[in-house]
Symmetry: C2
Subunit: 157 residues, 2 copies
C-alpha cells in the first residue's frame, strides 16, 4: 500500500494530540500524575496564567481525563480538586516516553530531574514497544505499519 | 519530598514538548516513520502550508532528529529528502503511545486507522511501561516519582 493514498484525518496520533498535545495540557497531566490536584498548586507550580489554566482544566474534565472532586479544608469553603480518571491514568506511557527521550537527549549534565521507580521493588522503569506475541522489544525498524480496520483511502479529484 | 518545592524548569517532559510537542512537528515525525521523506509528499499528505512545513523541517534537522539527504530523479535537478536519525527513531515509543491511547479512546467505530505489527512474527505491538528489574508491566499507580540527580529545589523568596 502507498501510505500517501491514506486519509490521515482519523489518525489516532493526530486525535490524541488535538486533545492533549498542547503544552499546558500535557504539563497539567504530568503534575496530576505527581500528586498535584488543586488549582492554586497547578497555578503556582506551572506558572500558567489563571485563565489558561482554567481553560485547560475544563477541557480535560470534559474529555473525561480529569474528574472534579469536592474537598474542604478546616474553616474554608468547599473547593474542588482535579483527579485523573482511568482514561487519564492510561496516558502514563505517553508521558513517560516523552520524559525518557528527554532524559537521554536533553537533560542537564547532572542527569534526569525526575526518576521513576517500581514501587514493589525499587528498580527503575522504562517505556518500550513490545511484541504482544513473543514479548520482544521492538525498535522502529522492526515494525511495519499498515492500514487498520478504520483506514480510509483519500478520495482523488 | 514535596513535589511543589521542585523546580520544573529542567523537566524532560517539558523539554521534549518544547522540541517536538507542536502538532505539525509530531505529525512530520509520524509521516517519516511511515516512509514519507520528501517535501512535496509531506506537504500534500499533511496539508501543512509550505512555510510552516519548511520551518518545522528546519527545526527538526537542526535538532538532529531528521537529516537531509540528496536524491535525484531522472532528468530532474538534485533535491533533498528527510530521513530520521537514530535520535529521531528513538521517538518511536512516544508516537506509538499517543496512537495506542487514541486507538482506545478516540477511534471511529470501525477501529484503528493504522495497525502496527512486529515484522518478524506478524503480531501486534503495544507500548508498555516496564520494570527494568523484573519486567513487570507498570501502571501509573505502581510507580513512584522522586527527584533525580539533576533535580533542583525552587528558590524561595
Amino acid at each position: 500500500m502507498d501510505w500517501l493514498e491514506m486519509d490521515m484525518e482519523n489518525c489516532s496520533v493526530q486525535r490524541t494530540l488535538d486533545l492533549v498535545g498542547e503544552k499546558w495540557t500535557l504539563l497539567i497531566l504530568r503534575e496530576a500524575l505527581n500528586g498535584v490536584h488543586r488549582f492554586a498548586d497547578f497555578h503556582e507550580h506551572l506558572g500558567a496564567s489563571e485563565p489558561i489554566l482554567a481553560d485547560r482544566l475544563k477541557k480535560l474534565v470534559s474529555a473525561g481525563i480529569l474528574q472534579v472532586r469536592p474537598y474542604q479544608d478546616d474553616g474554608q469553603r468547599t473547593r474542588h480538586e482535579y483527579r485523573l480518571t482511568e482514561k487519564g491514568l492510561e496516558l502514563y506511557p505517553a508521558i513517560v516516553s516523552l520524559m525518557q527521550w528527554g532524559d537521554k537527549y536533553l537533560a542537564d549534565p547532572e542527569g534526569a530531574s525526575v526518576s521513576i521507580e517500581h514501587k514493589a521493588c525499587g528498580h527503575a522503569v522504562r517505556v518500550v514497544v513490545q511484541c504482544t506475541h513473543d514479548g520482544d522489544i521492538i525498535a522502529a525498524r522492526d515494525a511495519r505499519s499498515f492500514p487498520g480496520p478504520g483506514a480510509r483511502k483519500l478520495i482523488s479529484d
